[in-house]
Amino acid sequence: MSEEIIVHRTALSIPYAWAAGRHATRFYREIAEHRKLFGTRCPRCQRVLFPARKACSRCFTETTDWVEVGPRGTVTSFTVVHYAEPQIQPLPPPLAYALIQLDGADTAFIHLVSEVNVAEIKTGMRVEAVFAESPQGNILDVKFFKPITQG
């Protein structure tokens, strides 16, 4: 009964190359070239969806207008993570995530909140995007959001 069971340890090693598509490519290009954040408007429900989507999944309608939103927004919910998962987490714990509704957008979006004492993050807090110095074409082109100290 006390026999040691063999445990076969391995990792799946499969490379991936994900196409962002035209819409997300434009979204990231606006960040890279102009430091601007864009959502798209659903012509049916009139919501401005952030980040920019080709279609509104709720209405099943193609979006039409590109609408500049943010870079400031409001925290609608947040969490502070206390465990380390270094293979995926971009910052060491304790790190904070928030649902942020950007000014001009009708949906919220998850992103990191940093340059703040995590104990001071609150719902309703105003934050603004901090852009990465060298954009890579992924969501960390917005490095994180930080509290707006004034204005």
Partner: protein, 381 residues
């Protein structure tokens, strides 16, 4: 739905790590136990529906490894890559089609063999979200806070769910986590992702479970205590968490509406005797009881505090301890069904609800309850 019965159930004990059995052997064991209990043989199984995950199993076509274990050779087997409650639904559809008399439904997962947070992170789309490093705990924490803020709940309020369910689990021999915990114990169990603490979150489990479905024509061959499928509904919500109102679950409400309508239930709180629901996190039990119509939105905590959902209340919720006591991914919903069957057959042992006649079992999948499946089961045809 009156023509199909669950004629047998089996589940493993759920544990953090079952190193002595690989997952095909785990499945084989639970299927063998089901056959022993029902007197069914391999030949009595017309077709098989399984639930498993390529990511959790670390294998493409996760179902391939269990073909022999479920006896699929030269039979029809299909894999639902979602919660086991949906596999049960697919199994029932196959009998309702008139082409099969029996379906074996099996779900398994060995959470110990993968890296849960990495697997969870891989469910976030790589275009807009994955690089953020988010996982199940993060998504659920954002939902928990949004919900608690909206209705003014404290972390102590939510901790009461863990206190109730983990105490219930002491009476469930299959449970992995159980004990007499206090609100303080939950509060002091350490934050994973605020406001969720270790004892607010379901554990990671190894385990498997199996259900034998039979048409009314043949049900008596396997049991004299069939449990009848009376109603079912399932529904999927939107994907991006920020697109949804996380404080409510219209998808669960829609799934429940369909199931209730099919089962002629218009007052669930009165008509149901027991409910086993998918509390992957403590706050979810409160939210889901609201969406299931047991109480008004925001009143889940009052329902809990009033004792209605306690094991000796008028509608006990998770007398087994629920997911907080054991959470084998993909199997957890089907375990809820199995627990309801035990209740309706009077075989739930120490956590038996006296005279249970009508039960609700709930399964879910995806972040913050993106998809839901609700079953109504009855001891009476």
């Amino acid at each position: 739905m009156e023509d199909i019965a669950i004629v047998g159930v089996a589940q493993t004990k759920f544990e953090r790590e079952k190193r002595d059995l690989n997952y095909a052997e785990l499945v084989y064991g639970v299927v063998t136990e089901l056959f022993e209990k029902t007197g069914a043989t391999h030949q009595d199984v017309d077709n098989i529906v399984t639930a498993s995950s390529d990511f959790w199993d670390g294998r493409t076509i996760s179902s391939m490894a269990i073909q022999s274990a479920v006896g699929a050779y030269m039979k029809s087997e299909s894999k639902v890559s979602s919660d086991g409650t949906l596999a049960l639904l697919y199994g029932a559809m196959r009998i309702l089609s008139g082409q099969f008399k029996t379906t074996l439904v099996v779900a398994h997962s060995k959470g110990s063999e993968g890296a849960p947070n990495l697997i969870a992170n891989a469910a976030f789309d790589p275009v807009y979200q994955r690089q953020l490093g988010i996982d199940f705990h993060v998504a659920s924490a954002l939902q928990a806070r949004a919900y608690m803020q909206k209705y003014g709940l404290t972390e102590q309020d939510v901790a009461l769910v863990s206190v109730k369910n983990l105490a219930n689990a002491k009476k469930n021999p299959y449970a992995q986590v159980a004990g007499d915990f206090t609100v303080d114990d939950v509060m002091n169990s350490g934050y994973l992702a605020e406001p969720i603490k270790t004892l607010d979150a379901s554990p990671i489990s190894d385990g498997a479970c199996a259900v034998l479905l039979a048409h009314a024509d043949v049900a008596s061959r396997f049991t004299d205590k069939p449990v009848w499928l009376k109603g079912v509904g399932h529904c999927q919500d939107g994907y991006y968490l920020g697109d949804r109102d996380l404080t409510t679950s219209p998808a669960l409400a829609a799934a429940a509406r369909r199931a209730y309508q099919m089962a002629s239930i218009d007052d669930p709180l009165k008509q149901l005797d027991v409910a086993e629901i998918y509390d992957a996190y403590s706050y979810q039990e409160l939210m889901w009881t609201e969406a299931l119509g047991f109480c008004q939105p925001g009143e889940g905590v009052q329902l809990l505090k009033s004792g209605v959902t306690a094991i000796n209340g008028s509608l006990p919720v998770n007398p087994s301890g629920g997911l907080l006591a054991a959470h084998a991914f993909l199997a957890a919903g089907l375990v809820r069904v199995i627990e309801c069957v035990l209740q309706l057959r009077g075989e739930a042992g120490e956590h038996q609800i006296p005279h249970a006649k009508t039960a609700l079992a709930h399964g879910s999948f995806g972040f913050c309850g993106q998809t839901h499946c609700v079953w109504i089961l009855s001891a009476e045809r």
